[in-house]
Symmetry: C2
Subunit: 478 residues, 2 copies
């Protein structure tokens, strides 16, 4: 099978981005559709990326005192209903268990769409005094939300995530925790996944059901659409009051706690695919790649080639996640395309002449650049190259973000900018939901956030002409 | 609060073992009951033990080529029904989702009680040739089984586990994999959890629904009851035929694959509690203990004590999981009892006079023995002591197993032995289920397994008097 034919299997990224995306998900064996409608199976190659994200994130969590725990999968209907906004937000999209062990249940149980209600119920029993605070619980689990239209990783009826839930003595401490966790998310997404983030606060319209404030890390995909990559919520006492999470404070008085929650999910795999991928398929940042380098022996049948490449593989495998492709039923050309499609950051080509010269050829997945290196420098050079690729990929994304970020001063201009190249559009905003609704209605863009880094673009709201003090970033979203 | 009062909170282990067990679960903050009936919340201290088990086990899995993946939580009813024995075994105890997103579902979906059916469905799509084999998938997830009577960790409507599912070219390779995974379970339970295992094959009556053979690692609890701690199943082609997991073999012919599955769960936390615990509470083996040593400063208010213990804590914490208990609202006696109850393997006492003499006192949780060590040897001594405790705890369990293992040659003798001290009872067995049923009916004991290490105790079955070639071990179970 020639290169041309192989590459042709993936839809062109410029022609149909959505189809390109699902092609990559399926062909690179990240996930597959299942017979449970709207539910995916995450395949080993995709799951290994999630494990990298988990390991990196969990370590950061533990450094700031977070402890993991596990709450029930099923939540009684009456518990879900305790916080008014929350139930309104989630009840329409939950799955209900009505039979168990052959009998109809007295009360329906929903599969958790998120666990604020269950965590709050348990916390109210565990917390008595200020000495029990803060409580910094987190769980890695799956949640179910009955989405109408689904897409692998991006919007699936089941997804994997972590949900952290904390209770604090003071509003200030809880607010600081909300920011601390948002900063960890920014770290994960920028430093592990090589995707630049836009940090800010969600408008009230876009915030989490039951939250007092929602903070977000937004990312921009290759096609200029935005993806919310992680959120951190400050609840104030919205849940601690109905769930009676009370504690005796340092003055001996009873008080309600201050709460946060924060989560990131397997959506991040969608972000990695869409922020970095190209017409050859997936493109993985080295730090998160399950295979960082693949060794492809050239003229494998020639004497000594396989033996020598095997030796090189053995030397590299203690320091890098490396694979030797010694399959004898595929051509070298097929292998090149196959590993490019799977997004492996570096290909190491070693042929008989290379061995004679004591060299190998390193090929970058991100730029296609080749470099001949001496075998006795291979380890060092590979390490440098992987770091280099990690940084280049981040910079390449950052370049797209700046190119696709525009400023607008009227509704028409917002629409025009989005039509032209999607992206982030900055405007001033008066703070009224009517203006926000109007922008969504006309342009299809949601407010991404009120960025922490504010700019004063003008004095008035581009919709109503009233005084505007805040800058908002808008974008069409996944 | 004095020592006496504190200890009295836990039911005496000799008086009521079941009550002692739940007291330890709750008081040591391993888990708690929830408002979802039969479902528990695993608290951070309990979850940290599970994380230790996960890390140890997952590493071993990866060493033998296992790759993690993730399959849907929900399984369509028609899929569950594809393998006859399997559906008969599991259908009565599943939970059914009948509504999603506000609408009644066309087909009921069950929450996975185990994932053979879903894994098999997906594998049948992924496997084409012998080159795709073996496929060695595993998932860490939660499963739901609608048990009538529940007990935290031991029998809960939801539990956490790993389920591995593999497909192989040959029966031989699949059988070898079944054993390989059983050996890893034995390693985890003996070397990490310090509990000796009895390895063997389940009788057909006790094997997994749909399996051709089930192998088990059995453990014996403090009260002499047995607990099945992990199982590994060989399916032959029982699932690959109905699920059409076919591959082109090396001869170019189409063939059905050979399958295995294997799992261990949060039940192991129950095993740790019941195999090691005593009247003071939990007793954790050092390798799995979330806190390996706790430093309790004596006369904390005296000048320099807290400062110096803090320094010692800082020195130890890079090498051990160590905690400094500097709480100022509890007495030293309370702290001693509290950490003993939580099963921390070593207590390090440091008071003003110890500091003058440059020493600390190490107290073992397992035996209560005290040892004074010099501060400049503390690191080394603590390391040795932890290793020592790990081994002693294993040996102590092994002693109980030998004391509680008996031989019987009649039904009456089986019953008598069990009445006397529970435990394992060895007998010969003819192989007929009628005799197995009889033993269960009269003595309440299930066959634990046909041990790999066979002994020839007699020539005949103690029930029917017919020729018997196999030795079986019986025991009442959790």
């Amino acid at each position: 099978m020639g290169k041309e034919e192989f590459v042709r299997e993936i839809t062109n990224i410029e022609e149909d981005f959505a189809k390109w995306y699902t092609d990559v998900v399926i062909k690179a064996e990240l996930a597959d559709y299942t017979d449970t409608k709207g539910f995916i199976a995450i395949r080993p190659y995709g799951y290994a990326i999630w494990e990298s994200i988990q390991n990196y994130t969990d370590k950061k969590f533990k450094e700031v005192g977070v402890t993991n725990l596990y709450m029930p999968l099923l939540i009684p209907e009456s518990m879900l209903q305790k916080e008014k906004d929350h139930v309104e937000g989630f009840a329409p999209e939950v799955a209900w268990v009505t039979f168990g062990g052959g009998e109809k249940l007295e009360e329906r149980l929903c599969i958790r769409p998120t666990s604020e209600t269950m965590m709050s119920t348990m916390y109210s029993r565990w917390i008595k005094s200020w000495r029990d605070l803060p409580i910094l619980g987190n769980q890695w689990c799956s949640v179910v939300r009955w989405e109408k239209e689904t897409r692998p990783f991006l919007r699936s009826r089941e997804f994997l995530w972590q949900e952290g839930h904390t209770i604090h003595e003071t509003a200030k401490e809880a607010e600081e925790r909300t920011m601390m966790m948002l900063d960890i998310y920014a770290d994960v997404i920028e430093n592990l996944l090589a995707i630049p983030v836009l940090k800010g606060r969600k408008t009230p319209k876009e915030q989490f059901a039951g939250a007092e404030a929602t903070y977000t890390v937004e990312t921009l995909m290759h096609d200029g659409r935005a993806l919310q990559a992680g959120t951190s919520h400050y609840f104030g006492q919205n849940f601690t009051k109905p769930f009676e999470i009370k504690f005796q404070n340092r003055e001996g008085k009873e008080e309600y706690g201050y709460q946060t929650s924060w989560g990131l999910s397997t959506r991040l795999l969608g972000a990695v695919i869409m922020a970095h991928g190209d017409n050859r398929g997936l493109k993985l940042p080295p730090r998160v790649a399950p295979i960082q380098a693949v060794i492809v022996p050239i003229a494998m049948h020639k004497e000594g080639v396989l033996e020598k490449t095997n030796k090189i593989f053995e030397e590299l495998k203690n320091e890098f996640r490396v694979k030797l492709d010694d399959r004898d039923n595929y051509s070298t050309g097929f292998k090149f395309n196959d590993w490019e499609m799977r997004g492996v950051p570096v290909r190491i080509e070693i042929g008989p002449r290379d061995l004679e010269n004591g060299v190998a050829v390193l090929v970058r997945r991100d730029t296609g650049e080749k470099e001949t290196v001496e075998l006795n420098n291979l380890k060092e050079k590979l390490g440098e190259l992987l770091e280099n690729i990690q940084n280049s990929m981040f910079e390449a994304c950052q370049k797209i973000v700046s190119e696709k970020t525009t400023v607008a001063f009227s509704l028409e201009e917002i629409a025009q900018n989005l039509e032209k190249n999607q992206g982030y559009v900055k405007t001033m905003w008066c703070g009224n939901v009517e203006c926000e609704d109007k922008i969504k209605e006309v342009t299809g863009a949601h407010s991404r956030c009120i960025p922490f880094k504010q700019e004063h673009l003008a004095d008035v709201c581009p919709i109503c002409g009233k005084k505007a003090e805040k800058m908002v970033v808008w974008g069409r979203q996944y």
